[in-house]
Amino acid sequence: MITDAKVRYAWKEHVDLAELDGEVVLFDAETCRVTKLNELGGLIWFGLRDNEDVEGIINGIREQYDVDRETATNDCLRFIRQLQEIGLLEVLPAEA
């Protein structure tokens, strides 16, 4: 489980992304797997794209959906964990 709210992530090199009228689609060129993100996934993706840390993304979810911190944190971390498990996302080294 990810616990460090300052962790930053990046998409793996072989992952391509497309924004299609506000929808986000991910393509893994190694497995040819295509993943379409739901609205929450898209929100998290925009946060990751903008190089936000987990804390910043959770705050964004709370603003958008008016949910408590625990719910936003669980949703965010579950999504990130799923992306890691299917090989789309990796942890960036900590900044010095």
Binding site: D16, A18, L20, E23, V24, V25, F27, A29, E30, C32
Partner: protein, 264 residues
């Protein structure tokens, strides 16, 4: 044996068959350009084809490898070796069925390599100067739709050749890669006006898809055998260009031609 110049969409292939039956099959399956007519035209690729290779068809899985400056596609009943310049290829086949699939494999690799376009698992029909593409898995109704659409012009009943033309859209070409309906009318092409994913149903319904939904439906309908992640990424970008330029729909249809009322 004298080479053949065969034309597929905008591409000219100089083919050197080693066997007479291969030559006859090619001449019967593709648009052949004669030397005089093609004078001054440089073939895009030279292809040597030999027979007597491999064993009878044993499955659709293709083993793809990159080695010694070339890419090799190998199935039980055929192999293809394409040099890294994509100017020369060597094909070995067991029979005509293998030759047909090898040519599809080669052409798909060629057009994706050049980011020219896609070979899409679909039928394609022309109505009032516009092409409509009907896509789906085997058994979804591609051939049925093609038959029900007669006497409209048919561009394909199995694999549609789609050229991506930038922001201007996409163009569908008459495809020589046919399943059963042979109605070649030369290398004609028409602007692609819609992509319809087939769903057999008791209803007739045309449901517009979002670009994301359309993208998901499209990507696994492309004929392509991945050779490396960089090349495979081109499929993603080509699909995106197609989705950006052409509306997509789920088409629920009965086995009659009433679906055309929903389209045109």
């Amino acid at each position: 044996m004298k080479p053949l110049l065969i034309e597929i969409a905008e591409h000219l292939f100089r083919v050197r068959p080693a066997a007479e039956w291969v030559r006859e099959w090619l001449a019967g399956s593709f648009a052949v350009r004669y030397e005089a007519e093609a004078d001054g035209l440089e073939p895009h690729m030279t292809v040597d084809i030999e027979d007597g290779c491999g064993v009878p068809f044993a499955g659709y899985d293709v083993d793809v490898r990159e080695e010694e400056g070339a890419t090799t596609y190998r199935r039980a009943d055929y192999f293809i070796r394409i040099d890294s310049s994509f100017r020369n290829a060597h094909i070995g086949v067991y029979d005509a069925f293998a030759l047909k699939h090898a040519m599809m494999n080669l052409y798909s690799a060629y057009i994706v390599h050049h980011s020219w376009g896609l070979l899409v698992h679909s039928s394609c029909v022309v109505e009032r100067g516009r092409a409509y593409l009907f896509s789906g898995y085997s058994g979804a109704g591609k051939s049925t739709v093609a038959k029900l659409s007669m006497p409209r012009q048919l561009l394909s009943d199995e694999a549609t050749i789609v050229k991506l033309c930038g922001p201007g859209g996409a163009i569908a070409f008459d495809s020589p890669f046919r399943s059963e309906l042979e109605t070649h009318e030369g290398n004609r092409s028409y602007p692609l006006h819609g992509v319809y994913f087939l769903r057999q149903s008791q209803q007739v319904l045309n449901k517009p898809l979002s670009k994301g939904e359309g993208f998901l439906c499209l990507t696994d309908k492309v004929f392509y055998w991945s050779r490396n992640p960089q090349e495979t990424a081109k499929i993603f970008r080509l699909c995106r260009r197609l989705i950006d330029s052409t509306p997509t729909y789920d088409l629920y249809f009965q086995k009659n031609d009433s679906f055309w009322e929903m389209i045109s």
